[in-house]
Assembly symmetry: D2
Homo-oligomer: 264 residues x 4
């Protein structure tokens, strides 16, 4: 049922749990250790179809999800974890039509997630001061066909943000508190901000900068993900897990309007 | 900067952290313990403006975020936590244009989040067998102005799902394993499924039902949210926290197509 | 089998999970809402025997464990959690014959646990600067019949520790880093120290004080206890849990001996 | 201050955090990659003294703590974690004079901790059905000089426990529920039991076996240890952590005495 493959589709090819690739459907043969296939044969077949290699092995083809894409993102530093990216999107209240500012771009994973959340009527303006990271992010993101992302090459602490008005803003960068005074140039009143903060020492600096700059409702959470290992009749949390990624500090920009203030 | 209030807007009114209301801008006076205000005065004012009550207190007005809305949702049972709702949306690969099936509706919080994620070009078909819960959910959701949700009153285990084709499906219901054989009637190949599962004993049944029905890549995680209390110079995780909500089991529907199977 | 009750034994009397008391076997009638019993009837009966009240209800009698005692400890501030007390004892390498210094005494719970661990051949020297807390602790501890505890009323930051030599030392007090320079007066070389530290901001101060005072192998852990609720066929972590108690920072006192230092 | 080294002492030799050894003070030269030392030179020197190798490097000597010993224990399977061992000891109410039964012995780490807790007036009777594990445990334990441990080679499910009366009992073995009916032969009334249980599926079987065999106050907890990484001005929980070891289920043996029962 549902769709079929078309030429130039980017497809997730699966041999087994570990052997997975994302490839475009073109007339170039696709070679693996298990033999090669002609991806053009997928055209017109239903999603989820399999192709047989010349060595008699089967390879299944589907469309990649965003999380599949993340597995294939090239990255210079640690890619943001899915649990954090999903929650950041909600804390930013990201929705179709929003214009979201981001500093820094990193591998572009969070950028992609937000770009998809704001849809064609919205856009992401993402700032990065490391050119090599930005290049990688652009390469990662363009594969997804997202066209609503503007990449800015700058240091927001020194240069400020690109001109415009942001519905919300995410700071995933070193010393984010130094960027907060710049945020007021672009964040609309009532707009949401999220800071991704790895260490204890950074929390107080970030909190104080938000408070001094008229943000309200400052709240910090940490999400811990525990995987459940499902070996037959012996389910249990995995023996090894990621112990820490970072804290998510969020707030709303509520500056004085007409000299009337609320208590927080 | 940015927008101003208009008549009939639903606005979040904030006196302090605990005294918050969502009200429509009409010519009815809004009464609080701190005096009353005329919300019509907000019209034309910038978002984030404040009104003074007849008792001289100030009340700030903004547009509510989705998380603000959740705080005001009426609910018959426990509302889904933000951390879980956000991750479920990502695990479902929810995106503009998707058609997502849900069983059951609950308070409508996750329904709303997904409806916003799929946008006007997508839709949510949500099933609930408790009429009182459904009524509450409809009431909750219509305040948000979401028009892309179809409410179905039925027991999916006995009656199956509404006809159609789903890009993905979320089961947040008792005995979800009993609904899995019905899922194949509506879920497209390569579609994602997520099950919200509170107890240990349910995990194995759910896993086995997925495995028997040709789902692949079954994975179960748990998200634990820890709030950081930020008392001046004395930051620490909160003394009390929510210890458990539920497990998120996810998988992809990969049935045999043309008798070729992949190893998982 | 095994022992029988004797006059003046302190016994744990259990009506149900919540109605529990610790009482001494004397000829005074013991009154409850479920009737009264004569505890002298227990004398000579096996541990675990039950007495019938004059209202026909049964009350079971056993000897209390240390954890039972903790439930009945009077306390001015939060009593230390079992998980932390047990680990502190191990981190201190507490064993029969040890002399352990403690600041502050608190409710006396950890003091009791350590006193029992060092046995009759060892001793605990515990310091407390709040007289009301000390009084309560003495009252708590003497019920257990522990005779190897010395209670010192002093502020260790200003007054230093009681004279003597400690095998190990536990600091559970405000600003523990200020007490560390005093520790060297009493802690033997190679002795272990543990600091109980509630907040993020205190960690760095404590760490630096240890490092400056020739402690090695500084390590900080946090123990999180999750209770499993075992409702029939529906086991799951409890919905509510204690989110945070404090960090356990531990180290070994390894000052320069004969001007030769090790790298840590 | 305090003690000095004597011939035949087992000493912890530390070059740096990773290069550590436990050796006996004899006239055999001790060779390392950093040169060799004559341990006899330690005799009469204070604990914490350093020796210089023939290559001019310094090696520090102290007495090992129990946790140091655990690092050097040979083991056939995963050694019990310190957090669990410490809590088990408290849940068992282990104290000087107690006689504790254990099945199985494993590497002997928990056995050692309990042996030290019960002191010379108490004893541990530990059962193991794998001869190779038992041999290793005996070797591990005898280095510590503990003389109050009895090693039994048997399968407690089939053979039952060694004759005698136990103050408490710890089961760290496969299918512990099958051993519970045997526990009543040896556990005194009011005695404590702890079961170490790795998986979800085992919890219900263990709980039901305890309940059917007149144990009361059944409680299950999990301890999660999080290490704090203390890099200068950048403290944070470690990126990687142990995600799961096992659950600790504990209860008290409260059989009917004279046909009178308590409600739990």
């Amino acid at each position: 049922m549902s769709g079929t493959f078309k030429e130039n589709d980017l497809v997730l090819l699966v041999y087994d749990k570990k052997r997975r690739w994302i490839k475009k459907i073109t007339d170039k043969a696709f070679h693996t250790n298990y033999g090669h296939v002609n991806l053009m044969e997928l055209i017109g077949l239903p999603l989820g179809s399999s192709l047989q290699t010349n060595k008699g092995k089967w390879i299944k083809a589907t469309l990649p999800t965003l999380l599949d894409w993340f597995d294939f993102f090239e990255h210079k530093s640690q890619i943001i974890y899915a649990k954090d990216a999903a929650m950041i999107s909600l804390l930013l209240d990201a929705k179709p039509g929003d214009k979201i500012y981001e500093a820094g771009t990193g591998s572009g994973a969070l950028t992609s997630l937000l770009a998809r959340a704001v849809g064609d009527s919205g856009s992401i303006v993402t700032h990065e001061n490391r050119d090599d990271a930005q290049k990688v992010a652009i390469k990662n993101v363009e594969k997804l066909g997202l066209t609503n992302i503007e990449f800015i090459s700058c240091n927001v602490i020194e240069d400020g943000f690109a001109e415009g008005e942001a519905d919300s803003i995410i700071l995933d960068m070193g010393d984010p508190w130094l960027a907060i005074p710049r945020v007021m140039d672009i964040l609309k009143i009532g707009g949401r901000i999220v800071l991704f903060i790895p260490t204890f020492q950074q929390l107080e600096k970030a909190h104080d900068a938000l408070e001094e700059n008229q943000f309200k409702g400052i709240r910090t959470i940490e999400l811990i993900e525990r995987e459940i290992q499902m070996k037959k009749h012996a389910y249990r949390p995995s023996t090894r897990m990621i112990g820490h990624t970072g804290y998510l500090m969020s707030a709303t920009y509520h500056p004085l309007v007409k000299d009337k203030e609320i208590v927080d």
